[in-house]
Each structure stands twice: as structure tokens, then as C-alpha cells.
Subunit: 451 residues, 2 copies
């Protein structure tokens, strides 16, 4: 698509997208992503930063309303439900990720979309169409903002306002011009800095909450005639001018209507920052194939892309469970010992003496091949030196959860049940029933409470 | 003050500031600023973008609560009152401005501070101390972010989250560490791009609403233990890293406790972007002293700083009243004809044929002296060429409203009454009574509804 105003074309696409336009395999994938998100939202139950945001929502918002706060079953307005559910669904670091944009779509798309669908009494098909609109927009905005943006900004927070506005705007029936205004309002509220990670602060939950709520507000305001910048993406004082040095407007409309970026989204298998997953899977391969034990390891070199170094590099001695998910050494040590770095492994073992000892044997080095393929492909490469002097190599081209190495519906269901069991956000019977219902979302005449 | 972490020192100052610490003249000035802000808030009544934001607050927020929405007298929670009042108090372009930071403090400080003071039953003295904390912080953050930031970002929106967090955090009694966390949460939500101005969009009201609400939320969250980045200002992935190329951390603590930046704040005399005021006053001087009529003017050259060209330059043929306030030609044409560019002049005459004809005779040129003094001093210089061939020069070193050329309390009261009369936000008797009460705010045992 060639265009004079790619942002306007993206808005027109988001406004006009209908369920019937979406290929069946993309619909099925969206259902997968929705169930996976739901598990992550339930996983937020009991998490301190999430509960704090939910308490704020309760203090400032109404005590009743059409929309569900998933971690506690309360009802409120869609604004506060979106805020609380977006905070909840990103904290376990188990929600999905789109490789090319380095963007976590589910938390900032489904949280507002479900809350608004409940408020409007929208159908399951409408929810799916709106969610795909959110994914397609958010992913393209992330790709547009580029790698320079991600060095400082948490793209899920920044592009997230646009993704949320697209999803909610689609549900509200915005026309193309209104959607353009919604994008203007959403983009001028884009925010989220990586600085918090350095001291293990709670901001990641605030970023997703903020993006979901600000994007939702932008769509509602646009429905009511509130206007936004015409060229919020590529204007001389727009998003890219302020927050990127390698933006590419063509990415905003890349394959619009033919390339379904939603279907490119990866599930997370390990409960850590996605930047650790390729190396984690490559190490697991070496451990498995060479029948190594953790004590056999003298040193692990992970060959990574620059983005991994930018995000993970500052985290040297993680003090909290959440921070440890951004420490390459901790993740690899857990994988070496338990074959999987899931929620219980982090919670119970991230400060174990043997895990910390192994952690400190792991280093990251920039790898030209891996960096060249990134962010399109996330290749995992490790070199393991053993205590008896061997040098072993591991490599994965698609870490577990990527589209070519995806999770089955049984695995997604199992993951959601594990997340609920871990957080105690719902007992097994209730969670299983909710997940079973949710697999049929496309048949729902109205989106009701999920739990 | 020398320090290793200026942001932490600023947080400690904001947390610790008490009424007794503030010099009397600064308290008096803060009362002036509060009354001036109140007039601007009432002026938002009936404005479409403001009413749209207020309607959103009403849709999503509770229908009752301790805090006052000034444009319609409704009550709600402090979050939504702050949101609506901040939207309201910036739209008439009559709210105050701090020259050195190019930051409008009142709208993002008093809106959340008054709403929270009403919710807590805080005293007038507590409200004043909290407001001064907000001013001192917001102004220093604006100065820290520098001129490069202002080229793309609307500093009132970005620094505004910090100002609001400081004011609300002071009212909530945050300790120094909690305030640091509040700053981290506020800074990671900083947002607001100038792009909207190019198409006369409504974002300026959204920026102040967003800043007030996000800053308020940050303070409440911090009170409840929610953490933020330790070095949100000057960290390698903090505000300056992402959004400035000429930041100066020393400005964050410049004269903290001895230099009262609050008292440096200017009132607006004309109802337009402050960048137009120096030239407007210089032209008014020429008109007055040379007894010119508008028809005598063949050409006006305004000698300005670069910031004026950045913000006003894109606005060539304003289509809305609000946009016309960012067009140097319109402002100067109104001043030439009416001696004052107030709300009625803009609303009734910005598209008059003679105003538009005179508008197009005005140009801006960068002036080294003016640019060198900016932003510390906003010098106004114009060269007028008359139809009979004369070349006349006007110059003001302190435009009307600056600290050395300030408004008296009678002028502030009169301005507030005019704003209320113009917007019909309150009838004269009610507004006069409210303003009379507000002058005594320092004696109030509890901050009650203002109107």
C-alpha cells in the first residue's frame, strides 16, 4: 500500500475491520491468544503491584459497573477494569509477545477490549475483530518506532496506547476519521521508560495499565467528537520525532489486510523476559542432548542481539522475583536445573545459592548473526564450557512458543490452569470451566464475565 | 546544593515542604496564582473539548464523591475532578506560565491539589504548601528537560505529571522515599506532543488532564507502597535519555529552598499563547505612543526567540479560536485593533476580514538578543513599517504579567470575573463571592467547594 498518510490508512483499517474479513486461522490464533491472556490475567491475583493498582481503581472508580476486574471478581466501569486487568496480565511475564515489534499485545489489547465488550454487550465475534484490530495496529506501531525507541522506551507502554485505542475504537464503531482522532489522542499519551528495571521498580504494571486506560479513553473521547493530531506518527512534532531515530512510516501499513501480524505472535513458555528465551531453549537443548547436570557447567556464553543487552544488561544481582526474570543468568540457571523456568521455579528458587552461583557463570556477548536476524527472528545460541573442559554448542532457530514451534490448545489450557493454581486466582474447577467456555468465544452472543 | 541524585533531593524537598517554610511573599503570590487559576477553570465551562472530557469522567467515574468539578458543580472522586478541572483550566489560554521552564504550572498543580485537599479535608495552609511543592518541582523539571525537549514535547504535559505528583504527594504526607517512587511513576507516564497544534486538535486539554490524573495516581500508588524508578530524571533510560538532548540535572535542585520559582511565575494578560505576548505588548506600545491605527500598518516584523517559531510557525491560517491563539499575526492584529487580545476579541473577531488582512502582514524573524535571553527573559521587539513609509520600533523587557510588571489583586479579581462572565460558568455575584472567599484560603480550616 502506498499512501500519503500511513497513519490515516492504519486508522481506516482499524475502524473498518470486521470479523468476516479475518481468515479462519487468524481467528483461531486470536482465540489461542485470548485464552493465553486470560491465564496471565488470573496470574496477577495477589501480586502486590497489581493489587495496589486494583485498589486505586476501586478507590477512585465506582463500586459497580458492567466490567469485570478479573483478579477479584469486582465490577466497575470499563476504564477501571481495563486499568486493573492490564496491570494484572503482564506481571507474571507469561503473556504473549510479537517478535518483530518487541511488543506484548495481549495485555494492552484484550484488557480494554474485554472490559468494553462487557459494557457494550458486544458479541464474541465483535470482540475478536476488535482484538485483531488492536494487535494489527499495536504491532505495526511497534515496528514503526523501531529499535532506537526500544532502547529507552518500553514499547508495550508506548505503542500500547494505540493498540488499546484501535481495539476499543473498533468496538465503539468509530469511523475512519474518528479513529484517526483516537490515534492522535492515544499517541500524545504514549509513555513508558525502561529506567524502572534498574531498581526493580513496579512500573511495568503501570505501563500496561496506563496504556490500556489511556487508549480506551482516547477512543471514547473520539466517539464524542474529541480531536487528535492528524499525523501523530510521522509529523514533525509527532511520536517518531520525539521518541525514535530509526522510525519507518512504511511499517505502519506493511501488508495491511493481507499480512496478519496477529498470527505472528509468540506464546511465552518460560516465565521471564522474552529476550532470555532463545538462549534458555538453546541451553536446555545442550543439557538434554549432552545429558549435563548443573554441576557440570563451568561457563555459559549466550550469543545475543543488542536489544537483549540493552534490557537485561543492567540487571546484575536481582533482588526481586520480577527483576530476576530480566537476569539472563538466573533464567539459564533455573533452566539448567529444572529444564523449565516457570512461575514456581522463579518464586521458590531465584535466590538459591546454587542458582546464584550458576547465574554468575553466565555472560552475554553480542552476536552478529543473531543481531542481524533480530527482531524478525529470535535465534538462541549458547556455548557451554564444562568443568571437564568440553566446549558444547546449542542453537534454536525458533524458541518454544514462536509460530513455527507454537503451543497446542492443550498446552495453552494447561498453562492457564498452572497460572491460576500458582496465583490462587481461581480454583481448578472454576478455571477449567472458564477456559472451556472461553474456547467458544466466537459463538458468544454477548461477552459476559470470564470467571 | 551538590548531590549524587538530584531527583532524590527534589523528592525530599517536595515531601518535606511545610507552610511555615514558605516566605510570606511566596504565600501571597501563591494565593494570587490560585485565584487566577480558579478564573481559568471557570472559563472552561461550555468549551467543547473540556465538556467532552468532563462527560468521560462522568461516564467512567462515580456520580458522587468529595471533590468538585468546577465547570458543572458535580461531585466525584479526586481522580476525575483533577482530570476535568485540569482540562478546563488550560483551554482559555489565560492560565499562568513560568518563563524559564516554559511551563504552565497552575493547571497541573491546583487541579489535582484542590481535588485531593477537598477529599482529605486538608486546610488552606496545607493546600498552599502542597501547591508550592508542585510549582517548585514542575518548574525545575521543565528547566531540566530544556529547550530541545520543548521543540517536540508540550512541557506542561510532560513535566506536569511530576508537578501533580509532588503536590498530591505533599498533601498525602508521603515521606522522601515514597515521593521518589511517586516521581518514578509520574515520570514514566510523562507524555504530550506538539503535533496536535498543526491541525488545531484538542490535545492540549488532554495533556493537562492526563498530567493531573497520572501524577495524582502516582502519588496515591506510592502511598500504598508502589515503587518507581530511582533515577527517572537522569538515568540511562530515564526521561532525559528518551526525551531531551540538552538536559541539565543541576537544574532539578537549583536553589532548592532559597530560590522560590513559584514567585517567578507570570500571569497571562492576553488570552493567547505566551510566546505571542512580548511582541503583542511591544506592538501595543508602538500603537499607543505613535497613535497608529490598524490601517496605518503596512508590515510588522516581530523579533522572536526560536521557541516561538517552533510552536507558532506551523500555524499559518488558523481555523479555530483555539488555534488562532497560536498565530502571531492574529494576536497582533487583535492588539492593533482592540489594544488587548482577550477572550471576546478572539471569539468574535479572529476571522474578521480586516483582522485576517492585518494578520498576513505580520512575520516572525529569529532575533539573537531575544533568543539569547530566552527562556529566562521574554523580550518583546517589533519593527512596524507604516503605509506612509515610516519605520517604528517597539520594545518591552517584561511583558504585562511578568513578575516585574505583574497584575494587582484587583486586576486578578477582574480577570477572573471576566472569564466567568465570558464562559457563563458562574454569574457575577456567585463568582465574586467565590473569589472573595478564595483570597482568604490561608485561613480555611478545610478546603471546601470553591464555587
Amino acid at each position: 500500500m502506498t499512501t500519503k498518510n500511513p497513519g490515516a490508512d492504519l486508522a481506516a483499517f482499524a475502524a473498518g475491520l470486521k470479523f468476516e474479513d479475518i481468515p479462519t486461522d487468524v481467528v483461531r490464533k486470536t482465540e489461542d491468544l485470548l485464552v493465553d491472556w486470560f491465564g496471565s490475567a488470573v496470574a496477577g491475583h495477589g501480586s502486590r503491584p497489581v493489587e495496589t493498582i486494583a485498589k486505586f481503581a476501586q478507590t477512585m472508580g465506582p463500586a459497580e459497573g458492567p466490567s469485570e476486574v478479573i483478579i477479584n471478581g469486582r465490577r466497575t466501569t470499563p476504564y477501571f477494569a481495563a486499568l486493573a486487568n492490564a496491570a494484572a496480565s503482564h506481571v507474571a511475564e507469561q503473556d504473549d509477545v510479537h517478535n518483530g515489534s518487541v511488543f506484548h499485545p495481549a495485555t494492552v489489547v484484550f484488557s480494554p477490549a474485554v472490559a468494553v465488550a462487557q459494557a457494550l454487550g458486544a458479541s464474541g465475534k465483535q470482540l475478536i475483530a476488535a482484538s485483531v484490530a488492536g494487535y494489527e495496529v499495536g504491532i505495526r506501531v511497534g515496528e514503526f518506532l523501531g529499535r532506537s525507541h526500544y532502547k529507552v522506551f518500553h514499547t508495550t507502554g508506548t505503542a500500547g496506547t494505540l493498540a488499546a485505542a484501535a481495539a476499543v475504537g473498533n468496538l465503539l464503531g468509530l469511523d475512519a476519521q474518528q479513529m484517526r482522532h483516537a490515534f492522535g489522542s492515544a499517541g500524545t499519551q504514549s509513555a513508558g521508560l525502561w529506567e524502572f528495571l534498574r531498581t526493580a521498580a513496579d512500573s511495568k504494571q503501570l505501563h500496561t495499565a496506563h496504556a490500556a486506560a489511556a487508549g480506551l479513553a482516547s477512543a471514547y473521547l473520539a466517539k464524542d467528537g474529541f480531536t487528535g493530531a492528524d499525523r501523530i506518527f510521522d509529523g514533525p512534532q509527532g511520536l517518531a520525532a520525539g521518541m525514535s531515530s530509526d522510525s519507518d512510516p512504511a511499517k505502519l501499513v506493511d501488508g495491511l489486510g493481507t499480512r496478519w501480524a496477529t498470527a505472528e505472535t509468540s506464546f511465552k513458555y518460560h516465565a521471564s523476559c522474552r529476550h532470555t528465551h532463545p538462549a534458555a531453549d538453546a541451553l536446555a537443548q545442550v543439557m538434554r542432548e549432552c545429558k549435563l547436570k548443573p554441576a557440570d557447567i563451568a561457563r555459559v556464553v549466550t550469543h545475543v542481539h543488542q536489544g537483549a543487552i540493552d534490557v537485561l544488561g543492567p540487571v546484575v544481582d536481582p533482588k526481586t522475583v520480577h527483576q530476576s526474570k530480566f537476569n539472563m543468568g538466573t533464567v539459564l540457571a533455573l533452566v539448567a536445573k529444572y529444564a523449565h523456568a516457570g512461575l514456581p521455579e522463579f518464586d521458590d528458587h531465584f535466590r538459591d545459592a546454587d542458582v546464584m552461583a550458576l547465574r554468575d557463570k553466565v555472560e552475554m556477548v553480542l552476536d552478529p548473526e543473531v543481531d542481524g536476524a533480530y527482531p524478525r527472528r529470535w535465534i538462541g545460541k549458547v556455548t557451554v564450557t564444562t568443568t571437564d573442559g568440553r566446549t558444547l554448542h546449542g542453537r534454536v532457530d525458533e524458541p518454544k512458543g514462536d509460530p513455527g514451534n507454537t503451543l497446542s490448545r492443550d498446552e495453552i489450557t494447561a498453562k492457564a490452569l498452572q497460572l491460576a493454581a500458582f496465583s490462587k486466582g481461581a480454583d481448578e474447577a472454576r478455571m477449567r470451566a472458564a477456559v472451556d467456555r472461553l474456547w467458544n468465544v466466537a459463538q458468544w452472543p454477548k461477552v459476559a464475565a470470564l470467571l
